[in-house]
């Protein structure tokens, strides 16, 4: 009689444990989806700031037509990536934009006339902040995916994952090969800073 109660108690605890692990997987999966959307949102916000920057800085940046072309194509890439909802494309489009930003920064810094323009400096700050937001949104996606994937492979939660067929999440795919992974000799040197 006592044994039955003990077994019953163990069964109840086990069921609650399985429910909690199951809920972890389901809710984290939802949060991963939400974090991908968040990346899209922030990228979109960033691309919407660009026309404003163009409008207010055009007068000063007449001679920097190349920058504007790059900005426009980055903006196009972002909107099509956000529409497609593909994380990889979003990451690429975000990268395009983050490559143009330092170029504008250089122009702004070297030109006291633009630097004095409050509108332009505000827009630059906003753009920089949005880059941070994209970065943090990506960080959230990476962290959530890592938590999820660790639980899928570690014991004993992997049993629950097996029963309900939860599969590894891709998260932010990083290229297995390519320029990002190569470190040139130049890059390993400590940068010299002249003060």
């Amino acid at each position: 009689m006592n044994l039955i109660y003990i077994l019953l108690a163990i069964a109840v605890i086990l069921i609650f444990w399985i429910i909690s692990i199951y809920n972890f997987f389901v809710s984290t999966k939802t949060r991963i989806g939400a974090s991908i959307q968040e990346i899209g949102n922030q990228l979109k916000r960033q691309s919407e700031l660009i026309p404003n920057l163009e409008a207010s800085a055009k007068g000063y940046l007449k001679h920097e037509k190349g920058i504007f072309d790059e900005l426009t194509s980055a903006r196009r890439a972002i909107s099509s990536a956000v529409e497609s909802g593909d994380v990889k494309k979003m990451a690429d489009a975000g990268k395009m934009l983050s490559e143009v930003l330092p170029k504008i920064q250089v122009v702004v810094e070297s030109n006291p006339e633009i630097k004095a323009s409050e509108v332009v400096t505000n827009l630059m700050e906003e753009l920089r902040d949005t880059s941070d937001k994209v970065m943090y949104a990506r960080r959230l996606l990476i962290d959530l995916t890592a938590d999820y994937n660790v639980k899928i492979v570690t014991f004993p939660s992997n049993i629950v994952a097996g029963i309900f067929h939860f599969e590894k999440q891709k998260g932010l795919e990083t290229p297995e090969s390519g320029d990002e992974l190569k470190v040139t000799e130049e890059e390993t040197k400590t940068p010299k800073v002249n003060l």
């Binding site: 922030q42 700050e125 941070d132 937001k133 970065m135 943090y136 949104a137 960080r139 959230l140 959530l144």
Partner: protein
């Protein structure tokens, strides 16, 4: 060199051990004091007993500060809600860290005070508030500010307000029981008639505990508080991945001579650095023992190990 995951695990274990020791201490102290009290007064209190009464008394005050902590800030002189345009860096940095942590953006307040400091409060991430002084916002750059805000938001994410409230209730409980026992010695009835040895042991033990346990309780409370600072520092690095930001922020904060005008003792343990005392270097261990925060030099050392 330690990676942040190792630091996080080590911190978790240390925190758990301290909290466990604290719980054991509270149990033993309560047990001894209640028995001594019952012996001295000659009867056991019915119903809730002495523990229940003390728990309620100590709980009410802490509960108020716990439940309304985010609203209490508004009572601090000169606190105003942060404005996106006016406090652009503060506002956006907090917004970004909330995105990165997947928690709602806390309410943000600015206190008009030249001393650079910041604190967080609120019973859970949904009711959290982060408060920064104008001194902090003026003196730190964006990266340093990110480190400080991330430290505060780790306090929020780790439910430190909740933990410290529970600890405060327990310390209050022990202190109250000790106080009652000491008082009962004056008006407790004489026990000469039916003295027995096992009970008088409780009387002696009760005396020892009545004198020592409020101090011991407070000391353990401070150990927990200091441990949570290290946890929040590591949490900040985990969020920003830039220990250098927090290191240089702490250096700037510790070098600033002005003390905080409107420090609140109830929230002292949630500030980025102790709002009352500025402990720059290690100091004597006795001084450190009574501090809510570890010395900044020790915190910087721990952070540098993560670079």
């Amino acid at each position: 060199m330690k990676n942040i995951y190792e630091v996080r695990t080590a911190n978790k274990i240390k925190s758990a051990v301290i909290v466990f020791l604290f719980t054991v201490f509270v149990f033993v102290a309560t047990y001894v004091l209640v028995n001594a009290l019952a012996y001295n007064l000659g009867y056991e209190a019915g119903g809730f007993g002495y523990v229940g009464i003390a728990l309620i008394a100590s709980g009410i005050s802490s509960f108020v500060s716990y439940y309304f902590s985010d609203q209490i800030i508004l009572g601090i002189a000169g606190a105003r809600p942060a404005d996106r345009r006016r406090d652009f860096d503060f506002y956006t940095v907090a917004e970004n860290i909330a995105i990165g942590q997947g928690i709602p953006k806390p309410k943000l307040y600015v206190i008009d005070d030249p001393s650079p400091n910041a604190f967080a409060t609120g019973r859970d991430p949904a009711h959290a508030a982060v408060c920064a002084t104008t001194g902090l916002l003026e003196k730190l750059n964006r990266t340093e500010l990110e480190g400080v805000i991330a430290h505060e938001m780790s306090h929020v994410k780790n439910f430190d307000t909740r933990l410290m409230s529970v600890v405060a209730v327990m310390v209050g409980l022990v202190a109250l029981l000790s106080d009652w026992f000491t008082r009962s010695l004056y008006w407790g009835r004489s026990r000469d008639d039916n003295e027995n040895n096992s009970s008088s042991i409780f009387l002696i033990l009760g005396l020892v505990f009545a004198i020592l346990s409020p101090i011991v309780g407070t000391l353990i409370q401070l150990v927990i508080s200091r441990r949570r600072e290290y946890v929040a520092d590591a949490g900040s690095v985990e969020i920003t991945r830039q220990p250098q930001g927090l290191i240089s922020a702490l250096e700037k904060i510790s070098q600033d001579p002005s003390p905080l005008k409107n420090a609140n003792k109830a929230t002292a343990h949630l500030y980025i650095s102790n709002p009352y005392k500025k402990v720059k270097t290690g100091g004597s261990w006795l001084v450190n023992l009574f501090n809510t925060h570890p010395p900044i030099s020790d915190r910087i050392k721990a952070l540098k190990a993560m670079v």
